[in-house]
Every structure is written in C-alpha cells, then in structure tokens.
C-alpha cells in the first residue's frame, strides 16, 4: 500500500470527529482525491478507522454518487431526467455510446472520456442536457454532442 495515499487519507479522516457517522463525507473526499473508490483506498480507510471494509463497500455501492471504477479526464454525465427523456435525452446517450465506442460507466482507452447516466441534473429547462466535468450543456442534438466531443479532442491534441 502506498504510504502517500494512506497519509493523505489519514488527513481526510482526521477532519471528522466521528468518521463512522461521517463515512459518506469521508468517501466523497477520498473519491475527489483518487477519482474513484479504489480497493486500496478502502483498505486504507479500514486500517485508519477500523470501519469494516464490508460496510465501506456497502455504502459506496449503495449510492449512485460513488464510483468503483476510474473516470476519464472528461467525465460526461448524461441527464436521464423526465424532461430530458421527453425531449430526446436517450439520443444523447446513444450518440456517446456510438462515438466513444464505450458503454455507460466505462472509460475510453486513452483515458480521456468516460460517460455515465445520471438522475436529473435539474437543468430541465434546457433539456436534453449533459454535464462534462462542471460545465452543463443544454438543448443537445446528436450533432451538437459530436461537435462538443470533437472540440475537446482538438483542445487535447494541441496540448
């Protein structure tokens, strides 16, 4: 186990007076640090707090907000809310599946993109919508989705 990871997780845990009660907040911070809830980080939390790894994984697998797999540099969240559905949201998902060549929850080989279906983003007035990292995109069509992906790829190629 990497000592560095353990000491970072330790400093997260120490912020909470009752880590067991604050397990969700701890996991949120660990996910922000590692990118997902990795097996290694679960082991670290158990060693530091004594919370059984079965409980940690139980909580992590219960909530949609926790990921047990790594995400891409660009994390795409496709809104599956009612308004987006009525206005053609599944086309957005279909387009991503087609263009990226991966299923929801997976990551592209270059590590650039991952996409997932999420419950309502609350941007119903600009449906269908998706979010890439912290930016929301609305009134999407297949064409617009392709354009957005292309522009990101271009940006990355220039780096």
């Amino acid at each position: 186990m990497s000592c560095e990871l353990k000491s970072k997780i330790k400093s997260i845990v120490e912020k909470y007076s009752n880590p067991s009660e604050s397990l969700i907040a701890v996991l949120q911070e660990v996910q922000a640090l590692v990118g997902y809830i990795s097996e290694e980080s679960v082991k670290c939390i158990t060693e530091i707090t004594g919370i059984a790894s079965s409980r940690i994984l139980g909580v992590a697998s219960f909530y949609a907000g926790f990921r047990l797999k790594p995400i891409g540099k660009y994390r795409i969240m496709v809104c599956m809310g009612t308004a987006c559905h009525v206005n053609g949201g599944e086309r957005v998902a279909d387009t991503l599946r087609r263009v990226l060549g991966i299923e929801a929850g997976d990551i592209t080989e270059d590590g650039l993109f991952s996409w997932e279906e999420v419950a309502c983003l609350g941007c119903c007035s600009i449906s269908p919508a998706m979010m890439i990292n912290d930016t929301a995109y609305g009134k999407l069509t297949s064409e617009k989705v392709v354009e957005i992906l292309e522009s990101i790829k271009e940006q990355e190629a220039q780096k």
Binding site: S22, I24, V86, G88, T95, S125, D134, S142
Partner: protein, 583 residues
C-alpha cells in the same frame, strides 16, 4: 441604475458568463457593476438581465448573448431602454400571473450577500420568532395550514409539535434538500437563488422545537447550491446570528451541511436519517417517528426546502394571511417546475386551487409548436400522468390524489402527442427499479418484473395477459412495500393503464406505437415526391443507412437505420417520415 444578471445553474448553462463579459466590457469604465442574482424562474428565456432604474422600475431582457448584452448596456447608459431582447407582454404574463412567497427573493436578492437579504426584510421574522417563543410560533404555523411541500402533505405544525413534545436536551432540525425527483428543480432554484430564506425558516423551526443544530442534507449534484449555502452560513456566523446566545435571547443555534451521495430513496425520512449516520439509506418502520427518535437517536424534525422557505413569510405576515390563499385543505402557494413540451418552462408559484390547465396554457403559453397536449405528469416516479380531459383538476393535495397522481414536490412535465405513454411508464419504472433500496422483496423484485414486461411491450413483444400481470404486480408492491418509494412506484404504470389503455393495446396487439416513439415499432422512410436528392441526410447519417444518387430520391435501409432522428433534423424539405409499424 442596477444591472441584475440571472446566475443560477440554468443561466450559467445557457451562457450567463458570456453576457457577464459583454456587460462588463461596457460597464467597466462606469460607476455601475453587474449584480449576480439567482434564477428568477423564467428559464425559457435564459440568460436574463433585469434593469432596475433609479425610480425602481424594472425591465426584463432575455435570450441574451455577449453582443446583445453590450448593445443593451450601451443603450441603458444612454438613458434608453433598448427594444431588442425585451420580454414581450405575453412573456411577462408568466411572471405577473404568479403569487410569489417562496420565490419572492429569487432573482431579486443577491444570494451571496446577507446584507442584500436583510435589506429586503430578511431575518425580521427570526427576530420576531425569538420574542414569540415556541408555542406562539407553532400556533401561527397551525393557523397557516402549511403542509409539507415535499410531496406527502403532512401538516407541518403537527411535526413541530411532536418534536417539541419529545423531551431531550439534544434535538435537530433537518432540511431535506435531496431533490431527487427527475423533472423537478424548485429546491435547486431556491437554494441557489435565496439560501437565507431556507436557513431563516430552519432557525425558526429550531426555536419552535428547541433544537440547537440545523442540518441541510443537500444533493451533491447541486454544487452551486452547496457553495451558496456554505457562504450564507459563514455570513450568519460573522453577523453573530448563529452561535451561542443569539441576539442575547438565550437561543443557541448552528448549521452543518451534509452532501447526499445520490439515492432517491433518501427523500424518505428514515432513509435520510440512515444516510446522515453514514449508512446505506434504507428506510425503517415507523414508529418511532423521527420526532421521537431521529438523528443520533434524538428528536428530529425533517421538512423539505420549500416548506422551510414559507416559514418566515408566515411568521411575519401571520398564519391567517397565509390561510387566505388556497383551498379549504390546501393553503398557501405551491411552486411548480414546468418542463417538457411546454412553450415557457420555468418556475411557477401559484395559489393552491388553480387548475393545471391554467398553469400550462395561461401562464406557460401552451405546447411547443402548438401541438396537442396529451398529459401532464405530476409527482415524478411516485406520481402519475393526468390526461388532457382532466386538466381542469384544481391543484390541491386531495384532488390530485383522486386522479391517481400525487401533488409531489412540484415537478410538472408536459407531454404532447409525440410522447408515448407506455414508454413514459417504462421510463419511470426503470428509475424506481434502479432506486429501490432492495430491502422489501415486493419492491425490489416487483419493480424489476414490471420493468421487464414494459420493456417487452415497447419492444413489440407484448402478450395478451401483460396488462393484468402489471396490475397484479402493482397491487402487491403497493401493499407489500414498507416505504413511500415502493408504495407509490406503480403509480406511473397504473395511471397510464387507466387513462391510456388504448396505447398499451396498440403496442401489444397491433405492434404499433401510436406516438411513433418506440424505435422497435417504427420505421423511417423518404417521401420520393418531396426528396430533392441533395444527399445531406446521407452525409449526416451516423450509420450510413441512407443511400441514393444525387438529384434522385434517396432511400433508407431499415436494417441499418438506428432511428436517431438526425436525418429528420437535417432535411430541409420535410421529406423524411416516421411510419408506425416495422417494415
């Protein structure tokens, strides 16, 4: 002169940052600056700027971009009110026909400044409540007739009274801001646009039940709301409106924020409490009720965002003024989030008792492209679809429940003739089957079985007994599940079977989707008369399903066609048609 820019999530997603850039370019050398406010609910016309002149007159501008924002600012500086991008009277009617209490500060107050909230009378109700004391506060809430705005409509005073009656030195006030109902965004708008209103309501509840701690359980998917809440709490602490012995009253109070991790079931009180304790959000049997044994096994009062947002108004204006609005059993106003196939989607706050029809047509301008309305979905995955001929139903808890839907938290999704009701039922069942916590067998397995049947039906593989099996499963889930999620999960299926049985039968018996929506039951064809052979569709088709010779009619290969609709969107001649049934 003031320049207010709508800077909620929806505004930002629609390009409020570009508008800000445009305005700043013009205003940077002047004494004016742009004030960022929350969403005023006119979501259909984002990004929005409101100009308030020195006499307090307001003019609204919508659908702005960087260039039009510059033109606007230049015009205003010259003392003119430019006509371009100005809201039309019909659009303004959207706002003017509302009665705003919960939303009164949204789009008016600067959500990142406590002084802005105080200058509009903020925290006066809190000061008054400190003098009134517990009993009088609960009396006013009782007189107001306020009922829980999260959906179930439980009388608020009753919850407060029982939490007050529970004896303990340690009590909690919890705000349920885990707005998980897909299609609803009222709470997000209030938290982002006027966070102090919610906090003030919680503080008053704290006085009423004798709690020293307020916890806001908010969705992690609302980062802007979390940020603004935290800022608001920090400001309250600086002003010494939180902490020990607030305003020398002897009352202690403070807040903490907990971010949810994405589970719809956590909207249920006992599941929320489990989640607050760092566990899987699984409901438990009541009693004991949270008011007796809640967070940390102590008396806890849980209300929804909108419920708390009503409290300061009631305390300031009196419960009886609140009770003057609405119907006999449903008092006050209700905020709805209008979305779907409606012309002017956004936030609508209206007195209870108004009809659904009035909201959809008079306030929101009717259906996109003037299409025919088919149904209005209320209550999300726990609610139901109310058909066209029942849209004159007044909005109150009991009347809505009679239709088979529920009032719910306020999501209202409008559907037109192109919406397939079987597909909608499948959509909601997909949602609830994923969100079922798995504790109760009828809910965990029943929703999955119902989903499988619905998937078969939209796929053209439905069989004769399917509707009966769906009804039977629905009954077992409704009676056999412990919590509200399971009890209400079959509602979307039951209401669509009740009001749109012919659509189910068309799918099952004729293998047709009347709304031409279910991809397994439709095919795309090109009208040879209308096709000019421009080849645009063929070039845009992602699956190379369209071929032909230039200047001659093209054709679609049904086997390759994935029915994505790209060709229809690109064809300039309207030559591509969707036909019911598979070729």
């Amino acid at each position: 002169m003031r320049f207010l820019l709508g800077y909620g999530s929806c505004g930002i997603a629609s390009g409020a940052d570009f508008v800000l850039e445009g305005l700043n370019e013009v205003l940077k050398s002047t004494e004016y600056s742009v004030e960022k406010v929350g969403c005023n609910g006119l979501c259909f016309a984002e990004p929005i700027v409101e100009i308030i002149d020195d006499n307090g007159n307001s003019t609204l501008y919508g659908r702005l971009d960087k260039e039009s924002a510059k033109v606007l600012a230049e015009g205003v500086l010259k003392g003119e009110m430019p006509e371009g991008n100005k809201f039309t009277d019909a659009e303004l009617n959207f706002l003017n026909s509302q009665k705003r209490i919960v939303l009164s500060g949204c789009g008016k107050v600067n959500p990142e400044s406590i002084d802005s909230y105080i200058s509009m009378g903020g925290y006066n109700a809190f000061r008054k409540a400190l003098e009134m004391g517990s009993d009088k506060i609960i009396e006013e809430i009782k007189a107001s007739g306020l009922r829980g705005r999260g959906g179930a409509g439980f009388p608020t005073h009753f919850k407060w009274q029982s939490a007050k009656n529970s004896q303990s030195d340690e009590k909690y006030v919890v705000c349920n801001a885990d707005e998980g109902d897909p299609g609803a965004f009222m709470d997000r708008a209030v938290l982002e646009g006027d966070p102090h209103r919610v906090l003030e309501g919680m503080m008053i509840a704290g006085i009423a039940i004798g709690a020293k701690m307020g916890i806001i359980y908010v969705r992690a998917e609302y980062p802007l709301a979390v940020k603004r809440l935290q800022l608001a709490i920090n400001e309250l602490r600086e002003k010494k409106l939180l902490g020990k012995n607030i305003l020398n009253s002897g009352f202690d109070f403070d807040f903490s924020i907990m971010m949810g991790a994405g589970a719809f079931v956590c909207g249920e009180e006992t599941a929320l409490l489990a989640s607050l304790g760092g566990n899987r959000g699984m409901p438990v049997t009541k009693p004991p009720f949270p008011a007796q044994k809640g967070f940390r096994k102590q008396p806890t009062n849980i209300n929804n965002v909108e419920t708390f947002a009503n409290v300061s108004w009631i305390i300031e204006n009196g419960g009886s003024s609140f009770a003057e609005m609405g119907t006999e059993n449903s008092k006050g106003t209700k905020v709805f989030a209008l979305a779907g196939r409606v012309k002017r989607g956004g936030l609508v706050e209206v007195p209870m008792g108004i009809t659904i029809e009035k909201i959809v047509f008079d306030i929101c301008g009717g259906i996109i492209d003037d299409a025919d309305v088919k149904a209005v979905q209320m209550g999300g995955p726990s609610g139901g679809c109310i058909p066209k001929d029942m849209l004159s139903t007044p909005i109150d808890y009991e009347s809505i429940a009679k239709t088979g839907a529920i009032m719910g938290s306020g999501g209202m999704v409008v559907m037109d003739e192109n919406t397939c009701m079987v597909d909608m039922a499948k959509f909601f069942m997909d949602f609830t089957s994923k969100e079922s916590c798995g504790k109760c067998v009828p809910c965990r397995i029943g929703t999955t079985r119902m989903l499988e049947i619905l998937e078969r039906i939209v796929d053209g593989k439905g069989t004769e007994g399917d509707i009966d099996t769906l009804m039977e499963l629905a009954e077992s889930i409704k009676t056999g599940a412990l919590c509200g999620l399971g009890n209400s999960a079959p509602n979307p299926v039951l209401t669509t079977i009740k009001y749109f049985k012919d659509e189910y039968l068309a799918h099952i018996n004729e293998k047709k989707c009347p709304a031409k929506k279910c991809t397994s039951l439709i095919s795309y064809t090109i009208d040879e008369e209308l096709c000019k052979g421009c080849s645009l569709c063929s070039r845009k088709c992602p699956n190379n399903a369209i071929s032909g010779e230039i200047k001659k009619p093209f054709s679609i290969n049904s086997e390759l066609c994935i029915r994505c609709g790209q060709c229809i969107a690109t064809c300039k001649f309207g030559a591509i048609k969707i036909e019911s049934g598979v070729k």
